[in-house]
């Protein structure tokens, strides 16, 4: 990760005392960024849709009506109906629940495992560092989807296991970014000063190091949410994620494949939902990066492996 070093240099020198004003500046920068604001609004709508979905959805998600099957978009069925006559608009709305939930929980898992590994690795160095990082390298040596598929082969398909699989896939990124940040901050003057005053490891980690790794991790989180949603959709599409009859966008796409010619809308709308959601997270991630981390390369560029 060549991007890491330049970013870290930037943080090494920044005093924590400016934390509040930096937060303020961050918020300002994000609000000035039109794309980031657009992304935030889309995400807000998505969260609302996921939360109150059943109230908004005109039909039940599994309300089967064979006479209405494979109907194109119309006033009564905005996105048309599927092969069982279910209303696609309602299913796309409720599908946001799965996407957001899997995204957040999977990235949460990656954060909870990756950040402590990165902290320990960067802070203690030596054998701990080399063993943990070798392990991360091994996970990095497998294409993301393949690793997720392998994990799901062991655990069996399903939404919960998909979250675990995606979480494992994105753990190394968080570990590496955290470690990189810790390494430069560890050598900075204020940490040496705290150490010479007899501060304990835990104290140094909590008061000096953690606040400084927050920015790069925040950016990476927003990014990873986008990738996690893409990964979940791919796994559900392959039949390894969400199982029928629950509506998930990837799953709906897979179902739509069988009716390509009669009902292209079955594949178009769930796909658009994925694109818009992922784009929103990317916009917010780019905005966060510009605000917090101006020297880091664009989020999409730091994606490296997908």
């Amino acid at each position: 990760m060549t991007a890491t070093s330049s970013r870290d240099d930037h943080y090494a020198g920044e005093p924590i005392a400016e934390h509040r004003s930096r937060l303020r500046a961050t918020v300002d920068t994000i609000l000035l960024n039109r794309l980031a604001v657009t992304g935030l609004i889309i995400l807000l709508l998505l969260v609302i849709a996921a939360a109150i979905g059943p109230l908004v959805a005109p039909y039940g998600i599994n309300e089967i009506s064979i006479p209405d099957r494979l109907q194109g978009p119309s006033a009564s069925h905005w996105f048309g109906t599927d092969d069982l006559g279910r209303d696609l608009f309602s299913r796309v709305i409720i599908g946001s629940r799965v996407s957001l939930m899997v995204g957040f929980i999977a990235v949460g898992i990656a954060l909870l495992i990756g950040v402590p590994i990165g902290l320990a690795s960067g802070f203690y160095g030596g054998a701990v560092d080399s063993w943990l990082m070798r392990l991360m390298d091994i996970l990095f040596a497998l294409p993301a989807i393949l690793l997720a598929i392998a994990v799901l082969a062991v655990l069996g398909p399903g939404i919960g296991n998909a979250m675990i699989a995606i979480g494992i896939v994105y753990t190394p990124i968080f570990a590496r970014i955290t470690r990189g940040s810790v390494l430069t901050i560890k050598e900075s003057v204020f940490v040496s000063a705290a150490r010479s005053l007899g501060a304990t490891d835990i104290r140094i980690l909590r008061t000096h190091i953690l606040p400084n790794v927050v920015a790069p991790i925040t950016v990476q989180t927003s990014l990873s949410l986008a990738f996690a949603i893409l990964a979940e959709a791919a796994l559900s599409f392959l039949g390894l994620g969400v199982q029928p009859p629950d509506p998930a966008w990837g799953r709906m796409l897979a179902e739509g494949r069988g009716f390509f010619e009669q009902a292209p809308w079955m594949a178009i709308f769930p796909g658009l939902a994925i694109v818009i959601t992922v784009m929103a997270f990317n916009f917010v991630g780019d905005g966060l990066r510009d605000a917090l981390d101006p020297q880091q390369r664009s989020v999409i560029e730091s994606r490296g492996q997908g």
Binding site: L135, D137, A233, G250, L253, Q305
Partner: protein, 314 residues
């Protein structure tokens, strides 16, 4: 340089060893008897006993690992629980299709991203730059499998220009080979290319703003000479790294896209083996893909040394 190559080779071997442990564990982490699971309804005690013995599952776990590893190094990856065929045969039968697709996708990606990335950086702020950046912003958010489906809808079902799926080998019919290859390669290549585009643009932009570029201009070089003699030789270095990392993304895309286009490659084989619970095949596929990925990264690292005299002479 030799020491550098040796160190990288050693690191690769170490990573492969790690991957082999994970891959080997796969089969043992699955709850229950993997052979019984794989055979499912076709259960036959004799077949079961034979497969168990062939896979060595009745021996102590460490013995199993080392004998499996020893066999794997010699190219013997066991037999499929399903078909009884040697796994290595199954894999190498499908490897050419996957490599063809990956190389074609990379070709598309580079074809789109390199000229556009350089042009966008050189004319940053122009309409072309805005257009290309906006397009890449959208493209990176598109799931590859959905893009594939949309291409099939448009180019196969509506326009009827290209076949929606399948594979024809080059030696059988080069024209059909190309026709069948086009859509899957575009699906992966355009998305991958849009990621590369953004990286190339920023790498070129960064090199354009370096003092040495100003020095080059101050010498009286034409803008073309400045870019090709001074900017690009520097920009290639980070670009090559990212292209290497992109291969991971590309291979992920290949797995999914192979399913959509019924492309008889490793990815589709791996996925089928998951559905069939055919664990020896899955093991082999994961190991082989990891090997390909690590080898490419090694080549990229060596290229890096070639491009950057600072690395070369260390």
């Amino acid at each position: 340089m030799t020491a550098y190559v040796l160190r990288r080779l050693f690191q690769m071997a170490l990573a492969l060893l790690g991957v082999s442990i994970i891959v080997f564990s796969l089969i043992h982490l699955v709850p229950g008897d993997p052979v019984r699971v794989a055979l499912g309804t076709r259960f036959d005690p004799d077949v079961h006993a034979a497969l168990t013995k062939r896979a060595g599952l009745d021996r102590p776990i460490l013995v199993q690992y080392f004998s499996w590893l020893g066999d794997a190094v010699r190219g013997d990856l066991g037999v499929s629980f399903r078909s009884g065929q040697p796994v290595a045969d199954l894999l190498f039968e499908r490897l050419p299709a996957t490599i063809t697709l990956a190389v074609a996708a990379l070709f598309v990606a580079l074809l789109v991203s390199v000229p556009l990335g350089i042009l966008s950086a050189v004319r940053s702020g122009s309409k072309l730059d805005y257009g290309a950046t906006a397009a890449s912003q959208v493209a990176v958010s598109v799931p590859d499998f959905w893009a594939g489906i949309m291409y099939i809808l448009l180019f196969s079902l509506s326009l009827r220009w290209l076949p929606p799926s399948g594979y024809v080998s080059f030696s059988d019919d080069p024209v059909e080979w190309l026709k069948h290859l086009t859509l899957p390669a575009l699906t992966i290549g355009l998305i991958s290319g849009s990621i590369l585009f953004r990286f190339i643009r920023s790498a070129v932009l960064e090199a354009l703003h370096q003092p040495y570029t100003r020095t080059a201009r101050a010498k009286g070089l034409t803008e073309r000479q400045v870019i090709w003699s001074h900017v690009m030789p520097n920009a290639w270095i980070p670009i090559v790294t990212v292209v290497g990392l992109q291969l991971g993304f590309l291979l992920s895309g290949v797995i999914v896209v192979e399913v959509i286009f019924a492309w008889p490659g490793l990815g589709r084989l791996a996925l089928l083996s998951v559905q069939d619970r055919d664990f020896t095949v899955l093991q082999g596929a994961v190991l082989l893909i990891a090997f390909v990925f690590l080898s490419v990264n090694l080549i990229v690292d060596l290229l890096y040394g070639y491009l950057d005299p600072r690395v070369r002479q260390k």
